[in-house]
């Protein structure tokens, strides 16, 4: 009999959303376990740099309705407007609460939380950039992660660190918990809970150039997807415009917030052409496309003309400030003080000193707008009727509320974590008071145990690494910033062929039980392949261009037909089917337009910056 733990609430993943949910479920009286494949402080929330958006109005007038408007517009009108409203309104209180938990925000001279400009954030419905991003140097995510982990320790939350969740236990359409493998021993453990919340982050490792950590392999999304939970809006994956050339490491938008500008290989500032009003601070999808267009029209820099520059040298920044009649001026010391980590990344990895020279950058796969569909209470939902899946919750990047729509605004990921993580935790605390445990099916670990043994003992010839790099290359090529039908069909075919090899011809070296990362990486690759397939399929189905999804064969946004979310469902119960599983895609789930119903400014219109 496999070891079984019982808790009111199981939180899978220990980044910002998971820790916030754990903290609130715990404060609400629930008995909580946090199960995470990493030590909590290793979570990817810690790499978020620039800030967390909240209309505090500490430096100039601001309003949560303006924040909601920017979020809806930034999301190219695919965001559910009720969710965007919750996000913007509760951001204020959530940020104040983080400060009360001790988060060391930077301060204004009066001692208030300091705020900076960020892409797509404006005052008065798109008028001009507004200082909304609350920041702690350029390591805001690190401070949030640390603060939440500290508070969980203070409140005696129970952690199962380095336990990798490998299966979701579903019984009669309800979630009864998860199966996890303890990495240290290789032992499987069942976590039986009344409520299970997934907060496992994204799957940037589908692509070859990404800002994402090696651990961002979409495990949480994949395990529920294989058990019949749909994946919503998978075609929308954000490419952040400013990744370090080749490495993909992120350079925060905060650099542009402080005055940094994008410069092409000819030395020209080019964002004026694409976003005449707010230029370099336009939304991320707009800027990423602009960079690609500069490169494809021969204006790239370097030997292969395949990158552009981000220039934050005081000389350049002050010249453009002066040209624009902006009174601000910056010094090298300001840059050092406000962007210390960015400077270090560039010095370490590029040998470039950003206070003296511009940084070579290219767009990098960054953030999944799609994921497990949820309502604003973080409850997972099954279909266009918002049918709740009992016991199953999701929050953070793995969830699709959808407050980000077709393109997330900078800083809103951190807002999403704290706002919907908190809502998830509070709702779970209430739910476990009235709900019973869903009974465990007999031997819930059996199927995943067989699958892990299949991988461990595979007698094939293909090493996981070959499949992973082939997938990443194909996805970058054909399911990247620009897409068209032929390439998407090709990508689907390639991904399916790779998955067939994954299930028939795999081999790994490590057959042991102690800390077997060879086995875990191979299993994670299976998750990536499943999500890559869903992504390519959803991208093929959506015959329009919206937000981060740009079809070269359907260049226009099509509001008449596509104001809907996509839901990809996988059928069949095999964990690793040897032939392509049947997938269906449902495009009947209408976008929530509740703000537009009372305020015409929220109705879809042409998106310009």
């Amino acid at each position: 009999m496999v070891k079984t733990h019982q808790f009111d609430a199981i939180i899978v993943g220990a980044g910002g959303a998971g820790l916030m949910a754990a903290l609130y479920a715990s404060k609400g009286g629930a008995n909580v376990a946090v199960v995470s494949k990493l030590y909590p402080t290793r979570s990817h929330t810690g790499t978020a740099q620039g800030g967390i958006g909240a209309a505090l109005g500490n430096l100039e007038e601001d309003n949560p309705l303006w924040h909601a408007y920017d979020t809806v517009k930034g999301g190219d009108y695919l965001a559910d407007q009720n969710a965007a409203k919750v996000l913007a309104e509760e951001a204020i209180d959530a940020v104040i609460e983080l400060e009360h938990m001790g988060l060391p925000f930077d301060r204004t001279p009066e001692g208030k939380i300091s705020q900076r400009r960020f892409g797509g954030h404006t005052s008065n419905f798109g008028d001009k950039p507004v200082r909304r991003a609350c920041h702690a140097a350029d390591r805001t995510g690190h401070m949030i992660l640390q603060t939440l982990y500290q508070q969980c320790i203070k409140h005696h939350v129970k952690f199962f660190d380095e336990y990798q969740v490998v299966d979701a236990i579903m019984n009669n359409g309800a979630c009864a918990g998860v199966v996890a493998m303890q990495l240290g021993t290789g032992e499987l453990t069942v976590f039986h809970g009344k409520a299970t919340l997934f907060a496992t982050g994204g799957w940037g490792k589908i692509w070859s150039v990404t800002s994402n950590a090696h651990s961002l392999t979409g495990d949480g999304a994949a395990v529920v997807y294989r058990r019949g939970v749909p994946m919503q809006d998978m075609e929308f994956f954000q490419f952040h415009p400013t990744g370090i050339y080749k490495l993909g490491i992120l350079i925060t938008e905060g650099v542009r917030g402080e005055g940094g500008v994008l410069i092409n290989g000819k030395g020209e500032r080019f964002m004026e052409k694409y976003a005449p009003r707010i230029k370099d601070l336009a939304s991320r999808d707009v800027v990423s496309r602009a960079i690609y267009m500069e490169i494809s029209s021969g204006n790239g820099a370097g030997k292969n003309k395949d990158y552009v520059y981000l220039d934050v040298t005081p000389k350049t920044v002050n010249r453009y400030f002066a040209e624009a009649g902006d009174e601000r001026r910056i010094t090298a010391e300001d840059v050092e003080k406000k962007l210390p980590d960015i400077l270090e990344f560039c010095r370490v990895y590029l040998g470039v000193d950003p206070v003296k020279d511009p940084m070579p950058i290219q767009p990098t796969a960054h953030y999944a707008m799609g994921g497990i569909p949820t309502n604003v209470n973080a409850e997972a939902v099954l279909d266009e009727h918002w049918t709740v899946i009992p016991g199953l919750y999701a929050a953070g990047e793995v969830a699709c509320v959808s407050c980000h729509g077709a393109n997330r605004l900078g800083t809103n990921s951190l807002v999403d974590l704290v706002v919907f993580g908190r809502r998830g935790g509070k709702n779970i605390a209430d739910y476990v008071k009235r709900a019973d445990f869903v009974p465990l099916p007999p031997a819930p670990e059996r199927e995943i145990e067989a699958e892990l043994n299949r991988i461990r003992n595979g007698k094939g010839k293909t090493r996981p690494h070959e499949l992973r790099s082939a997938m990443q290359k194909e996805m970058m090529q054909n399911v990247g910033v620009f897409r068209e039908e032929k390439g998407l069909n090709g990508a689907l075919e390639v991904v399916r062929e790779l998955r067939e090899r994954f299930s028939k011809d795999l081999t790994i070296d490590d057959k042991g039980s102690t800390f077997n990362t060879d086995l875990m990486e191979a299993w994670e690759l299976g998750c990536l392949l499943d999500l890559a397939e869903a992504t390519a399929l959803a991208a093929l189905k959506r015959t329009e261009s919206r937000g981060a999804h740009s079809r070269e064969d359907y260049k226009e946004r099509d509001d008449a037909n596509w104001m809907v979310h996509s839901l990809v469902t996988r059928h069949g119960s095999e964990l690793s089917p040897s032939t392509a599983p049947a997938l269906t895609i449902n495009v009947n789930k209408k976008v929530d337009m509740s703000l537009a119903e009372v305020d015409p400014r929220f109705a879809p219109k042409v998106r310009t910056y």
């Binding site: 001790g102 060391p104 301060r107 204004t108 320790i153 090696h214 010095r347 370490v348 102690t514």
Partner: protein, 253 residues
């Protein structure tokens, strides 16, 4: 360029490999800009999948991949081949914590020490009546800025001979974490933390050997932070100890 890795191996599952031993791997076509972490991945992915290490973000923020590289504690993702003299790289697990397998050590004793110093914000006074943030001046915020950068990678603690000699010593990282709260003017539990650190396994086991400061991948002045905590214990106060005029922005190493 061609590079030779010499790696300290240990695998409790395999007879013959269940005692520590050295193994060499050769890599061709290495670029001076390749990170040691990437090269360890190449070994794992192309040559020997049993090679085991922790890693996640790969750019020096998550703190997973602290290891001894050519005898010095580093994050593998922050050492580039061009930083290494020659073409030989020796990699071992960090010292002073039990080895689980290859480069993976048991982090529990380390996190145990972390938890001993009350590493969380304490202030039970009512929050401001207007429902807004507690105020803090930029100067007060600057006092503990350096120690907020800690990512708990354990590079400092496992470079400390006092910790090697006595694993009960809380170690530099736990003191850095305590410093972050002790000198935060909003916090109210400095006294309790100073009491914990005044115990025999607290700050006084620090002999100012100064290994910890150069080991820190975040450029934290660890030895200075420990010194400030020692002063606060001696003087019985946290005010007037951190001189922010001497906090300088430094070139990270």
């Amino acid at each position: 360029m061609d590079v030779t890795f010499r790696i300290r191996r240990y695998n409790p599952d395999i007879p013959g490999k269940n005692k520590p031993y050295w193994q060499e791997f050769r890599l061709a076509d290495v670029d001076p800009n390749d990170r040691v972490l990437e090269l360890l991945h190449r070994i794992k992915w192309e040559q020997d999948g049993t090679l085991t290490l922790r890693r996640s973000c790969a750019h020096g923020v998550c703190g997973s991949d602290a290891m001894r590289i050519n005898g010095v504690n580093k994050l593998a993702c922050k050492v580039l081949m061009r930083d290494i003299n020659g073409s030989k790289v020796q990699v071992e697990p960090i010292l002073g914590l039990p080895v689980i397998k290859d480069l993976v050590v048991d982090m529990e004793p380390f996190f145990g020490h972390y938890r001993e110093v009350m590493p969380f914000f304490v202030n039970d006074e009512p929050v401001p009546a207007n429902g807004r943030e507690r105020l803090q001046s930029p100067d007060d915020r600057a006092q503990y800025d350096d120690t907020t950068k800690c990512i708990l990678c354990a590079a400092c603690t496992t470079s400390c001979p006092s910790f090697w000699a006595n694993g009960k010593y809380v170690g530099p990282a736990a003191i850095v974490q305590a410093h972050r709260f002790i000198f935060d003017t909003r916090d109210r539990a400095a006294k309790e933390r100073l009491n914990v650190l005044a115990e025999p396994n607290g700050v006084w086991r620090c002999r100012t050997i100064f290994n910890c400061t150069p080991a820190c991948p975040r450029g934290i002045e660890v030895t200075r932070a420990i010194g400030e905590v020692k002063l606060a214990i001696q003087r019985g106060t946290t005010t007037g100890i951190v001189d922010i005029s001497t906090i300088h922005i430094k070139e990270p190493t």
